[in-house]
């Protein structure tokens, strides 16, 4: 994997940093990395609408800001609605000649709690109404900002502070809510999954989402060493294993057509992913087997959907 970075990285990635260094994210934060890469792909001609959460807290302690482009934070669950208003406002002002047409993009950023739990209604509304915006869910699989509480995006078996593993519980007892599928069900033009371990893929998808006319949704798995209890230097590795085990497959759905972003001839065993993370350390072999079976089944479904989709999209 390092070879890929060495060959492609420096020459291709822009040096511009709309999301600047110096923010207060924890070391090894996968989410800050996701935002940094996404921001590079977004460029300067955009307005960021950020939900309450880690990325808001680390980027905007007054009087500092990590954003070189216009940025607004208001509340937790309303990011998609604020973005809707910004997009509609820009459109109206341009139409009425009150602002020049400069094709300013509106990009919403929110965590998994802000997206799959408390912000789901606002997101659904924005996607259904067809606003021309990009919504990026930065999924670190729990409420990390408040101290690792479970969300509906927390995976089965993970121990969090509100789904602790104990004698009577194996931790999170529900399967991760499939947000990309929910986005797809809104019949929007572009849905994708991404992970900063595959940085070029992530940036390419963000760039593509920006080009799409209408709503685009990108779900980015962002490793959180604090919440996942993994080594800070393993962020890229853990993200890469999430993809290679099929736990978090990378794909795009363009106008309803599924396309896998990577060809994995054989999935790595989920155990290789789980064992790097303290949140899964209590799992027995039997439970790991249940997870493995579920991953196999879900991945097979995805492969089937991709094979049924027409290659042209």
């Amino acid at each position: 994997m390092m070879e890929t970075m060495a060959v492609h990285g420096p020459g291709i990635i822009t040096e511009e940093e709309p999301f600047t260094p110096g923010h207060r994210a924890c070391s090894g934060c996968g989410e800050a990395l996701s935002v940094r890469l996404a921001a590079k792909a977004i460029g300067n001609n955009a307005i960021i609408v950020n939900a309450t959460g880690c990325m808001e807290v680390v980027a905007s302690p007054f009087p500092h800001t990590s954003w070189r482009i216009p940025w607004i934070h208001t509340l937790f669950e309303n990011t998609a609605a604020v973005a809707s208003g910004a997009e509609a406002g820009l459109r109206a002002l341009v139409k009425k000649g009150k602002r020049p047409e400069k094709n300013v993009k509106v990009v919403a950023l929110a965590g998994d709690g802000g997206t799959s739990d408390i912000g789901l209604q606002a997101l659904s509304g924005a996607l259904e109404r067809g606003h021309d915006l990009v919504y990026i869910c930065l999924d670190n699989e729990a409420y990390m900002n408040t101290g690792i509480q479970r969300s509906s995006a927390t995976p089965f078996g993970a121990s969090t502070t509100t789904s602790p593993a104990g004698r009577e519980s194996l931790g999170q007892v529900t399967w991760k809510k499939n947000l990309p599928a929910i986005a797809v069900a809104h019949d929007i033009p572009y849905v994708a999954t991404a992970c900063p371990s595959y940085h070029r893929d992530l940036m390419k998808k963000v760039a593509k989402a920006l080009e799409v006319k209408g709503p685009a949704y990108i779900h980015v798995l962002s490793v959180c060493p604090v919440g996942w209890r993994c080594a800070t230097e393993d962020t890229i590795k853990v993200g890469r294993l999430a993809v290679r085990t099929g736990v978090f497959p990378l794909y795009e759905v363009e106008n309803g057509q599924y396309k896998l972003s990577l060809t994995l001839t054989k999935l790595e065993p989920v155990d290789s992913y789980l064992k790097l993370q303290g949140r899964f350390r209590h799992l027995t072999e039997d439970t790991i087997k249940i997870i493995q079976e579920r991953v196999n089944r879900e991945y097979a479904k995805l492969v089937e959907m991709a094979s049924k989709s027409s290659p042209s999209g």
Binding site: S60, L75, A81, V82, A88, G89
Partner: protein, 391 residues
């Protein structure tokens, strides 16, 4: 010159937003606000209003979309009522703190439970600390005029605050009244274009809604308070200018037949019109009764109120909301607080009534005055009386 026409008040409120040439309307339907937003949707659909209409999926999103629209520099309008206003609650605080001059018509309706679609002021009172300018209108003309004024006041660089125009559900919103709709050209002269100081714009990036550590939060809130208090001067200036242009006068506290009145009634909203007729009758009968109408609720017009009631012996305040377990009606409680340090002040008697659409008739106002005088003389152990309740 604009003509006087018969219009449903809700429709006229929509027309007022159109006359203000709003850029964005984001709204969610709720009784009795619906006719306002339906009319606006129709105006946009017919090309009579050039605006983006966002049919959001909740009031929380309605106000949130208003935040986004206003933050990019769009003139933004919405309307709601009751539960809708409550669902917006946390967003209201953000609108005022981020200094976004959104204008909202609130068609006053009781709060659940039990569910009631009819009017009282419990919705308005529940948001009195949200940092918005709030005014109560008593008829359709006032509603139209003050929706237009609301944009001019809110968007003023000395203010930059959101404004709520409160009109009573059904008893005002759904009645047809003779209303003068100003000409578009007149409104355009009166209301300058919205020129936000710091819109979200890639040409000049700003960070809006940063998180405030303890060293700055108090200062932010104090600045907000100073601005809202200071907004009163701008409101007065706007109303003076409005009177010069359109010939209709408004003031924060209005006195009706208060000359030599020993007893004053105090009302807010559409019941003021009934109260005026009741005062006329009592005056005809030789009773020294007058009426105080409170139009401006936030910022609270302390000086004007003190001045208006200083010569009375009894002040009878009617609240259409109840602060449970507290001092009774919020209006009466604030009036009492405003008069506390006055050397000369009337005896204040509080009634809570007209809840959930219960009508208050002329006869009721007369009864309230009679009871109020007795209570003022005899005193009461209770902080307030609930009017017309069947126990």
């Amino acid at each position: 010159m604009a003509k006087r026409v018969g219009l449903e008040v809700s429709v006229a409120v929509g027309d007022a937003a159109k006359l203000a040439d709003v850029d964005v309307v984001a709204a969610y339907p709720i009784t009795p606000q619906t006719h306002i937003v339906e009319h606006l949707a129709e105006l946009v659909a017919n090309g009579e209003l050039r605006a983006a209409y966002i049919p959001v999926e909740s009031e929380h999103s309605a106000m949130s979309a208003c935040l986004g629209a206003s933050a990019v520099g769009a003139r933004t309008f919405t309307a709601t009522a009751s539960q809708g206003l409550e669902l917006m609650h946390e967003v209201l605080y953000v609108a005022s703190a981020l200094r976004l001059p959104i204008v909202m018509a609130v068609v006053n309706r009781a709060l659940s439970a039990p569910i009631s679609i009819w009017c009282d002021h419990s919705d308005a009172m529940a948001v009195r600390d949200s940092g918005w300018i709030q005014m109560f209108v008593e008829n359709g003309q006032e509603a139209v005029d003050n929706v237009i004024c609301a944009f001019r006041i809110g968007e003023d660089r000395r203010v930059l605050l959101p404004v709520m125009i409160h009109l009573d559900g059904f008893s005002l919103s759904h009645v047809i009244e003779p209303i003068i709709l100003p000409e578009q050209s007149e409104v355009a002269r009166f209301l300058p274009p919205y020129d936000p100081p710091l819109p979200l714009d890639p040409e000049k990036p700003v960070t809006v809604g940063a998180f405030a550590p303890p060293f700055i939060y108090t200062e932010v809130k104090w600045a907000q308070e100073m601005t809202l208090e200071g907004a009163k001067e701008v409101i007065l200036e706007c109303w003076r200018e409005f009177a010069n242009t359109f010939g209709r006068h408004y003031s924060p506290v209005e006195s009706y037949r208060t000359e030599g009145a020993k007893v004053l009634l105090m009302t807010m909203g559409s019941l003021s019109e009934t109260a005026m007729v009741a005062v006329d009758k009592m005056r005809d009968e030789g009773k020294e009764v007058g009426l105080i109408k409170l139009r401006l609720w936030r910022p609270f017009p302390f000086a004007e109120l003190r001045q208006a009631v200083r010569d009375a012996e009894v002040l009878i305040v009617l609240d259409r909301a109840l602060s449970f377990g507290g001092p009774g009606g919020p209006v009466c409680s604030e009036v009492k607080a405003a008069l506390y340090r006055e050397a000369r002040r009337p005896e204040v008697v509080g009634f809570v009534g007209g809840l959930g659409g219960r009508d208050i008739s002329m006869a009721d106002f007369e009864e309230m005055v009679n009871q109020g005088i007795k209570l003022a003389e005899a005193g009461s152990e209770r902080e307030f009386e609930i009017f017309g309740v069947r126990e």
